[in-house]
Amino acid sequence: MAAYNLKTLTDKPERLTGGHRMCAGCGAPIVVRTVLRALKPEDHAVVGTATGCLEVSTCIYPYTAWKDSFIHSAFENAAATVSGAEAAYRAMSRTGKVNGTTKFIAFGGDGGTYDIGFQSLSGAMERGHDMVYVCYDNEAYMNTGIQRSSSTPKYADTTTSPAGSDIPGKVQFKKDLTMVMAAHNIPYVAQSAPFRNMRDLYEKAEKAIYTPGPAFLNVMAPCPRGWRYNTPQLMEVVRLAIDSCVWPLYEVIEGKFVLNYKPRKKIPVVDYLKPQGRFRHLFTKENEGLLEELQQEVDRRWNRLLELCGEA
């Protein structure tokens, strides 16, 4: 692998072009562009997306922002649809009907991945299709107006987990999907984010795409509408998530856990929560205990990850 250089890499032609209608300050298109940048220029990709912001904003027929082949079916089916395309491609290459290298990549939001699409995702990974499933995780159903998902963090305010005087937002903790996917014992699982110069995400995408067999990437992709931060703060919000260990960067290669980043100074979770309007109701005298509870859960999950990675 050549030394990582964002400047030279961004000279590569974009495979998700500008002109799409994603919001300013949205993490999703940055994630997608970085993942697709990891494709070799001579390789072709078949991209499948689940229903969601990414799909409705990038392929408003007859327009499309995708340079590669693109397919969308229903909300729950991205992994199944891409499985089918990959299976057909494999059969056709065996009989010499297609040439060249085609890579198969599915993108889904957290609603389409953690919730309704989980069944088809699990099936595709278990069957062993040579594909990558990328979840751009913005922690709620943003496309339909910010409803909670099983990825929404505890106590976040959404339209279906509204924070009120009695119930302070969502009452459950976030599902740890990366760990669930690691338990599928597939060749490659990683958790990443658009962080600093994108090196972490780029290198993981490259591994995921070019490792034979199924791979899963879970990528934090903040949403300014749902998280209620100022749009220029996107990269800063991600940094706070990583430095507070709310969203650790790690990978699971053939079952082996590897920690990719350990903050020099682990910052308190409140530093991450503070710039986000969805947690604003927590910053009152009576809700101090809730902040403490969130910190404890982050610590618990972080310490467990350190053990798994042999870093404890």
């Binding site: 229903t51 969308h72 229903a74 909300f75 729950e76 609603g111 953690y114 919730d115 309704i116 989980f118 159903y141 339909t144 107006g145 409803q147 909670r148 099983s150 339209t159 279906t160 987990s161 509204p162 009120g164 009695d166 119930i167």
Partner: protein, 356 residues
């Protein structure tokens, strides 16, 4: 009680709560998101339960569970989501479980669009899922009527132990009108002695089931359900007739489209055409007799069905008219809403062709 200005979706949610619904299981889809959002806020205040499922399939099966326990329970969705619910709906009809299902229809097929449509008429009225069954399908045309039908819908569901569908569309869900929550036609309802509430050894076990392996037993079960449908067809038909008494032509339309036709009645009068409207309020049971009755009248020259679909209810209109008069169709699809002027043009075209 005074009227309040409310969005259709929110009025439907509030009406359900007023009707005693304390269990709501939903999932996000446009254009009905205000229903779950409203329930998420209001249900805890009433001691009720709001759960957002991880898919429509789960939401309808949560409804199955709560209905089996005898609860007043509701779910809502829009066209693609209603397709996912069909398996559960068929099971509930087979197990004779009452519930209210709201479908705020959007344009299809497939993912379609998010604009209003009436293209789920077949799915709603002809079964939708597998097997022999029917839903009672109520089609409001105003927010007030939507609230009234939700309240009555729960009673109909409980009386006949059958799922009831409220068939609206994106316009009815999103628009605002004054609404009053009223209980004009409350019914005497039998106690839910069949519910699985725990028998504590004091009565025989209640069994809720849709699996009947023995062919004769299944046929008996289906026949019994169809006898029940016979009662519903006899007792529950609701229809509005408007300006039919001297009409040259009768337009058939329901929901949003019927509102537009009401404007057309005035426009047509200015051009010397007397237009009547038959507006089915229950799409199933369908008011076929009403069509038959007016088709017998000499002054009625033809029928025109107007829908936001490629022609679905028109098939039931034809069955009702039964060849006595010609039946024409005009429809828009994909979220396009028919303009009054376009409907008037269509009426004139029909009149020219039947006057020849």
């Amino acid at each position: 009680m005074s009227k309040v200005l409310m969005k259709g979706n929110e009025a439907i949610a509030e009406a359900a709560i007023r009707a005693g619904c304390r269990y709501f299981f939903g999932y996000p889809i446009t254009p009905q998101n205000e229903i779950p959002a409203y329930m998420a806020k209001r249900m805890p205040e009433t001691g009720g339960c709001f759960i957002q499922a991880e898919s429509e399939v789960s939401a309808i099966n949560m409804v199955y569970g709560a209905a089996g326990a005898g609860a007043r329970v509701m779910t809502s969705s829009s066209s693609p989501g209603i397709s996912l619910k069909q398996e559960g709906i068929s099971y509930m009809a087979a197990a004779e479980l009452p519930c209210v299902i709201v479908n705020m229809v959007r344009g299809g097929p497939g993912l379609g669009g998010i604009q209003p449509a009436q293209s789920d008429y077949f799915q709603a009225t002809k079964g939708g899922g597998h097997g022999d069954y029917h839903l009672v399908v109520l089609a409001p045309s105003t927010i007030q009527e939507a609230a009234d039908l939700v309240i009555e819908g729960f009673d109909i569901a409980d009386q006949y132990r059958n799922p009831v569908m409220i068939l609206g569309d994106g316009i009815l869900g999103q628009m605002m009108e004054p609404v009053e929550f009223r209980f004009s036609n409350r019914r005497e309802l039998p106690p839910k002695t069949w519910a699985t509430t725990g028998h504590t050894g004091e009565r025989p076990r209640n069994i809720i089931n849709s699996l009947i392996i023995d062919p004769q037993a299944l046929e008996d079960h289906v026949n019994r359900i169809y006898q029940k449908y016979g009662h519903i067809m006899k007792n529950e038909v609701k229809v509005e007739c408007c300006n039919c008494d001297n009409a040259d032509i009768i337009v058939a339309a329901y929901g949003t489209t019927s509102r537009i036709v009401k404007s057309v009645i005035y426009l047509a009068r200015q051009e010397g055409i007397d237009v009547g409207l038959i507006r089915p309020i229950t799409l199933w049971p369908f008011p076929a007799n009403e069509f038959s009755r007016w088709a017998d009248r000499q002054h009625v020259k033809a029928f025109l069905t107007v829908e936001m679909s490629t022609g679905q209810m028109v098939e039931d209109v034809r069955l009702g008219v039964n060849g006595k008069k010609p039946v024409f169709f005009y429809g828009r699809t994909g979220g396009m809403v028919p303009e009054p002027s376009a409907i008037l043009e269509e009426i004139k075209k029909v009149m020219r062709s039947v006057m020849k």
